[in-house]
Amino acid sequence: MKILIKNGRLVNPATKINDIMDILIEDDKIIEIRKGITAETDKTINAEGKIVTPGFIDVHVHLRDPGFEYKETIKTGSMAAVMGGFTTICCMPNTEPVIDSEIMVEYIKLRAKREAFCNVLPIGAITKGQNGEELANIGKMINAGACGISEDGKSVLNAAMLKTAMNYSKMFNIPVMSHCEDKSLVAGGVMNAGSQSQLLGLKGISNDSEDVIVARDIILAKSTGAKLHLCHVSTKGAIDLIRDAQARGQQVSAEICPHHFTLSDMNVVDYDANTKMNPPLRSSDDVMALREALKDDTVGIIATDHAPHGVDEKNCEYDKAAFGIVGLETAFALGNTVLVEGSWLTIDKLIEKMTINPAKLLGIDKGSIEVGKIADIAIIDQNCEYEIDAKAFKSKGKNTPFDGYKVKGKVLYTLVGGKIKVEEGNLNDN
């Protein structure tokens, strides 16, 4: 099977290429990249006027399987992924049961092999049951195919426990993906603490609840030498701490979610729980600090924290509603609209933060379009303007604050291992 992608603009930050190129794929591999390829092919995709990028890699996704299949499954979550141009997604371990053993890692891999539309890499828990008391089978999980460890959904609050996990994780050279939240400071908060929470009478989540754990984890990573990756950074204080650590020569990786660089707490209105997530939408000062951090490369990764929920879990009292929003099907469009159109990032930088940088964090041979590599590719119309329609999401979760939001940039094709999963913007589900 040969596929030729013709006349597209190849944007491949890993090799610093931004030029019109043809790409020839045979079976699952890229076999030729140059201008003006003419070859006998089974299919030719005319990508004129479009950009061709490596398939996106999302290091932070909740697939809800096992245990919460009414919210999402590996099948529906990966369908949403390819619709958004993602070809590899990492799923967080806060399922029921928790992904804290090699058996659970094998389960995810088996499910993914049967029904996934893209590559799925499980992330193992740091502690058994995410209870913060005993180390999970980290080594066995890594040997079974886990790509990192995380307690996502909460922090390992016992510093000694986290320090042991960090120390142990070094043997496997895996990222420790840290969710930073001091529960005692959150104290039942449901949105950012600020003038808007005061106006709405909702209990606030202060920036310091995130910042103190970011500081602690940076310190522990320094003393253990662990590969620290900070999940969904949302505050200016956290950015300052990361920047300071990097200036001192410490390797600290971090990710920012599209909703955090797009919206502020002023978008929390009418007690609509589709604006409720953790960390919360922060102040406009924080939003600006996040955009700056992406611009100056303090933060190298954009991740979605895709968090699907059932309808009733959002259509209820704000305090009762679940935290989290879906993100896979809106991530690129928001990045392109807010960051590229807003002159914060070049398109190359945006793609870099969604492809090669996450690949490097995970230590996987993906995120670059080069001869000999697996053909994980997205083809995008960067200029296509449209309104986001939550009802059309392939994810089971329709919980997004971006329904009806005007954006620019649409994924037209997604190829996973040389197979066309999205064609002309439609899911290829046969």
Binding site: Q198, L200, G201, D270, Y271, N315, E317, Y318
Partner: protein, 307 residues
């Protein structure tokens, strides 16, 4: 006539609407003392009270307000209803809607719960207190009481003192008083002030300065039940540092009004002397509460836009 479906808070209510309610309440008040004046304007109007949180005065006040207008008032005992079987607020609301309820009066411990209910039912929804958000009818009765004595609000110095951060009464009063031109100061221990300065009012922990030249002092109950961890060392320290007693009261204007939404922790936020002094209108507030609630029920039932 009040041109709205629901009364959820004073944050989104205009000055004109507030004044219309206060004016109507004035007429209603006459009926409380004089049963012959209790014309049954709301005969055949079906009202239900849903109190997800305990209350004596607010619930009784609403029930009597409805009855004085001739309405049928029913209480949904939350503990014995399907709510205890896990029924969602939206489903409970839709059920009551089908039974022909015209006005739902709800108290709930969750901020925004009445807003969620209002969006999902045809009936009018009146907020009788939601979480630490708003308690509009309490603020309206406070405004009514203040206007009764002070005639107008422009430039009035109002000190609200006590457990500010847990108080929906303080918040609704801040919204209402600010709209009417009063100068509001919130006072209490720094740990109970929250971030309320962000609403554009003065905040201080210096009780004496808050009281100095005050026209109105509203004491707030220390809500021990809402404090997950104590925000001050104890009742004794609170009384000594922040309690209002006769000595402090000397700094206020001679004709200062002493108010409190009740129930009072006597000897904590207000000394017994202050509660019972000649400037105290705490009991009169209760009567005005019935009048204000009658006004709201009448205005909603007669003029409010129903969905």
């Amino acid at each position: 006539m009040l041109n709205r479906k629901d009364v959820l808070g004073l944050r989104d209510m205009s000055k004109a609407e507030i004044l219309e309610i206060l004016d109507t309440a004035k007429e209603m008040k006459k009926r409380i003392d004089n049963p012959e004046l209790r014309v049954c304007e709301l005969k055949n109007t079906s009202i239900i009270t849903l109190f997800y949180e305990n209350s004596t005065r607010t619930k009784t006040s609403f029930a009597l307000a409805g009855k004085y207008l001739g309405a049928t008032v029913q209480d949904l005992g939350i503990a014995t209803s399907s709510v205890s079987k896990g029924e969602s607020l939206i489903d409970t609301g839709k059920t009551l809607d089908q039974m022909g309820v015209e006005i739902m009066i709800m108290r709930n411990s969750l901020t925004g719960a009445p807003h969620v209910l209002a969006k999902n039912v045809n009936a009018h929804v009146v907020n009788a207190g939601d979480g630490a958000n708003e308690h509009p009818t309490q603020a309206l009765l406070d405004l009514y009481t203040i206007r009764d004595y002070k005639k107008n609000f422009e430039g009035l110095k109002v000190a609200i003192i006590g457990d500010i951060s847990h108080s929906r009464v303080a918040r609704s009063n801040v919204f209402g008083l600010s709209k009417l031109g009063a100068n509001v100061t919130l006072a209490g221990p720094s740990t109970l002030l929250g971030g309320l300065h962000k609403l554009g009012v003065n905040t201080t922990s210096d009780i004496k300065s808050a009281i100095t030249d005050a026209d109105v002092i509203i004491g707030l109950r220390i809500q021990f039940e809402r404090q997950k961890t104590m925000s001050f060392p104890g009742v004794g320290e609170y009384r000594d540092l922040f309690g209002i007693n006769s000595d402090l009261l000397k700094y206020a204007k001679k004709d200062v009004l002493i108010m409190h939404p009740g129930p009072v922790n006597r000897g904590v936020e207000l000394s017994t002397e202050v509660v019972d002094c000649g400037n105290s209108v705490i009991n009169i507030q209760v009567k005005n509460g019935v009048a204000v609630r009658m006004a709201i029920l009448k205005l909603l039932a007669k003029g409010g836009e129903k969905q």
